[in-house]
C-alpha cells in the first residue's frame, strides 16, 4: 500500500515540470563543478605525487560533488516536497486517501517514500559521474560508499522535514517557505550551536544540537568515517518529523 502511494507521488512529480527542471539544473551544476575540479586535479596531480600519503581523486573531486549536491537539495527539497500534502489539501484530493482504508502512517510513509525515491534517483544519477572516472583510473570505493550513504540519509532527513512542512498548511508555497526555514535553521544550528556548546564542555546540549544538524552529520560521512552517532542522529531526525506529520494528519481529522 505504501508502494501504491509512493508510485502515485513519483508519477505526480514526473508529470509536473518541476521534477525535470530540478534534475536538469542539478546535472548542469554538478557536472560543471565535477569537470572543473577534475581539471584542477589533473593539473596539481604531479605535485601531489611527491607528497607522502597524498589525497586521491575520490577525496578531491568526488566528495565535493556530493557536498554541492547536499546544498542544492537544501533548496530543491522544499520545492519538491511542498505539494505532497498541501496541494492535495488545496485540490481537495486528500479525501481520496483519507476515505480509503489506509492508516495515517501508511499515507505519510507512502508520500515520504515517493519523495525519497526521487531524491535517491538524483543521488544515483549523480553517482554516474564518479563512476565514469573508472574508465581511466581507480576510485576509493569505501569513501564513495560512505558519502553516498551519507547523502541518502541526508535526503531522508530533508524529505521528512519537507513532508512535515507540507502537512502544516494548504498552500504549497507556504509549505516550501516553512520547510526552507526549518532546514536553514538546522544548518545554522549545526554551524554554531554544536561546536560552541562542545567547546564550553556542555556535552549533552551539544549532542542534542547535533540531532538537529543533518548537514553537520553528513560531514563525517564525507570524511569517510562512519560515525554511529551521526547515523543515529539522522535516523532519529527523520523519524521525529515523520511522526509529527502523522500526528498532524490525525489532528486535522479531529479538527
Amino acid at each position: 500500500m505504501i508502494n501504491t502511494i509512493a508510485g502515485k507521488e513519483l508519477k505526480a512529480l514526473f508529470s509536473s515540470p518541476l521534477a525535470w527542471i530540478v534534475l536538469t539544473l542539478l546535472q548542469l551544476i554538478l557536472g560543471f563543478g565535477f569537470l572543473k575540479r577534475l581539471d584542477d586535479f589533473m593539473q596539481i596531480q604531479p605535485q601531489l605525487l611527491q607528497a607522502p600519503n597524498p589525497p586521491g581523486v575520490t577525496e578531491l573531486v568526488v566528495v565535493p560533488v556530493y557536498a554541492t549536491c547536499a546544498i542544492i537539495m537544501l533548496f530543491a527539497v522544499p520545492l519538491l516536497a511542498m505539494r505532497l500534502i498541501a496541494e492535495e489539501r488545496r485540490n481537495q484530493t486528500m479525501v481520496l486517501l483519507m476515505s480509503a482504508p489506509l492508516s495515517m502512517t501508511e499515507i505519510v510513509l507512502g508520500k515520504f517514500c515517493g519523495l525519497l525515491g526521487f531524491l535517491l534517483l538524483i543521488v544515483g544519477v549523480t553517482t554516474l559521474m564518479p563512476l565514469a572516472l573508472l574508465a581511466g583510473g581507480r576510485l576509493d570505493f569505501g569513501l564513495l560508499a560512505s558519502v553516498v550513504g551519507g547523502i541518502a540519509l541526508l535526503a531522508a532527513c530533508f524529505a521528512a522535514v519537507g513532508l512535515y512542512a507540507s502537512s502544516l498548511t494548504a498552500q504549497p508555497i507556504s509549505a516550501a517557505i516553512i520547510a526552507f526555514c526549518l532546514l536553514l535553521g538546522m544548518l545554522l544550528t549545526g554551524e554554531t550551536a554544536s561546536d560552541g556548546l562542545r567547546e564550553r564542555g556542555w556535552t549533552v546540549p551539544a549532542a542534542l544540537a547535533q540531532v538537529l544538524s543533518p548537514l553537520k552529520n553528513f560531514e563525517s560521512f564525507a570524511k569517510g568515517s562512519l560515525d554511529s552517532y551521526s547515523i543515529a542522529c539522522m535516523v532519529l531526525l527523520t523519524a521525529v518529523f515523520l511522526v509529527l506529520s502523522i500526528r498532524r494528519l490525525d489532528a486535522a481529522r479531529l479538527g
Binding site: 500500500m1 481537495q92 484530493t93 482504508p101
Partner: protein, 319 residues
C-alpha cells in the same frame, strides 16, 4: 478494542447514534442518529449549511465526531477506522480527482487504495468504467474532461471496490438535465444491492430516487421518514387559487373541506385542506355560481423551502 457486535446483522450497513460535531463553540451537527439497511437509498435533504457535508465526513471517517458512535456494517468507525472505511465508497462535494492521470489510471489507483485484489483489479476497473459510461474516455486525462464526466469519474472511484455503502455528496450539482437523469438511474441501480446515502437540496431528486429521507436544519434532524411519509406530509394538500372578485376569507373558509385560508395577495389565496376531503370541486362550483372570476387554480408544487418552512413552523408550534 472489544468487538462485541454479534447482535448486529450485516444487513444494517450504517448505524449512527447521537452524532454531534462542534467547531469551537459552533455546533454544526447536533445529535443526529440514523440507521440504514442494505438496499435502501437515504436522501439527506437540507439547505446550505444544514450539516449535510459534515455528517457525511463523519460517516466516512474524514472527520471525528465530537460525540456519538458510528458503525459501518457492524464495524466501529472510531475503533477500527481502516476496517470500517473498507465498506465505504465516498464521493465528496468536490470530486477528489488527480488531473494528471488518465481515467483508467485514476480508477485503478482508487482500486489499489481500496485494496482490491490484484487479479480482480482490471475487471473491477472495467466494470466501474462501464457502469458510469466512461469506457470511451478511459484513456483521456481526467483534467481534460467536462464537469459531467468528472462527476462520473468521481462516482466510478466510489464504486470500484464494490462497497456495501456508497455515500454521495450532492452528486448532481452542476450537471445538465440529461446527465442528472443518467446519474439518478445509476444511483437507483446502486441502491438495489447496497446502501446509498446521497445529499441534495433538490426535493424532486429525493422523491425520484430515495426510499427514505432525513431533513436536516441547523444541524438537527427535523424530519426522518420514508418517502411516502414525506409526500403525505407536504404533497397535494394545498391549492393556490386566483379570484378576480374574491369573497371574504370567511366565505372561503366555510367551504366544506377547507382547513385554512391564507391570502397570498389581493386576488390569490392559499387553501390548505385535510387529507381525504379535497374541496377543489366545491371551490370551482361556488366560484362559478357566485362569479368570483376564477382565473387560476393550481395544486401547490411544494418546494423544499416550503417543506422547511412548514417543518420549522411545526417545530415552533411544538415548542
Amino acid at each position: 478494542m472489544t468487538e462485541t457486535t454479534p447482535e448486529i446483522t450485516p444487513e444494517i450497513t450504517v448505524s449512527a447514534q447521537g452524532l454531534s460535531r462542534r467547531f469551537g463553540a459552533h455546533t454544526v451537527v447536533d445529535d443526529i442518529s440514523l440507521e440504514l439497511k442494505r438496499g435502501e437509498i437515504l436522501g439527506f435533504l437540507g439547505p446550505n449549511g444544514a450539516g449535510k457535508t459534515t455528517t457525511m465526513q463523519m460517516l466516512t471517517g474524514n472527520l471525528a465526531p465530537s460525540a456519538g458512535s458510528i458503525k459501518i456494517c457492524g464495524v466501529d468507525m472510531l475503533d477500527q477506522p481502516t476496517a470500517a472505511k473498507a465498506h465505504i465508497g465516498y464521493l465528496p462535494e468536490t470530486p477528489p480527482l488527480y488531473r494528471e492521470l488518465t481515467v483508467r489510471e485514476y480508477v485503478d489507483l482508487a482500486a489499489r487504495l481500496h485494496r482490491v485484489a490484484k487479479n480482480a483489479r482490471a475487471s473491477a476497473v472495467d466494470e466501474a468504467l462501464a457502469h458510469c459510461n466512461l469506457s470511451e474516455v478511459a484513456n483521456k486525462l481526467v483534467g481534460t474532461l467536462s464537469k459531467g464526466y468528472q462527476q462520473r469519474v468521481g462516482i466510478a472511484q466510489a464504486i470500484v471496490h464494490k462497497p456495501n455503502l456508497v455515500i454521495l455528496d450532492e452528486p448532481t450539482v452542476g450537471l445538465d438535465p440529461n446527465q442528472i437523469r443518467e446519474i439518478r438511474s445509476l444511483i437507483r441501480e446502486l441502491g438495489r444491492d447496497r446502501s446509498v446515502i446521497l445529499s441534495t437540496h433538490i426535493l424532486p431528486e429525493v422523491e425520484s430516487v430515495c426510499d427514505r429521507v432525513v431533513i436536516l436544519h441547523h444541524g438537527k434532524t427535523v424530519f426522518g421518514d420514508t418517502i411516502d411519509g414525506l409526500k403525505k406530509f407536504h404533497g397535494g394538500r394545498i391549492v393556490h387559487i386566483g379570484l378576480r372578485r374574491p369573497p371574504t376569507l370567511e366565505v372561503l373558509a366555510a367551504i366544506p373541506g377547507v382547513a385554512r385560508v391564507e391570502a397570498d395577495g389581493e386576488c390569490s389565496f392559499r387553501i390548505s385542506f385535510a387529507d381525504q376531503c379535497d374541496p377543489t370541486d366545491a371551490l370551482v362550483r361556488r366560484a362559478v355560481e357566485e362569479s368570483w372570476g376564477l382565473f387560476q387554480l393550481v395544486p401547490a408544487q411544494t418546494s423544499v423551502e416550503e417543506v422547511f418552512v412548514q417543518l420549522t413552523q411545526k417545530d415552533e408550534a411544538a415548542a
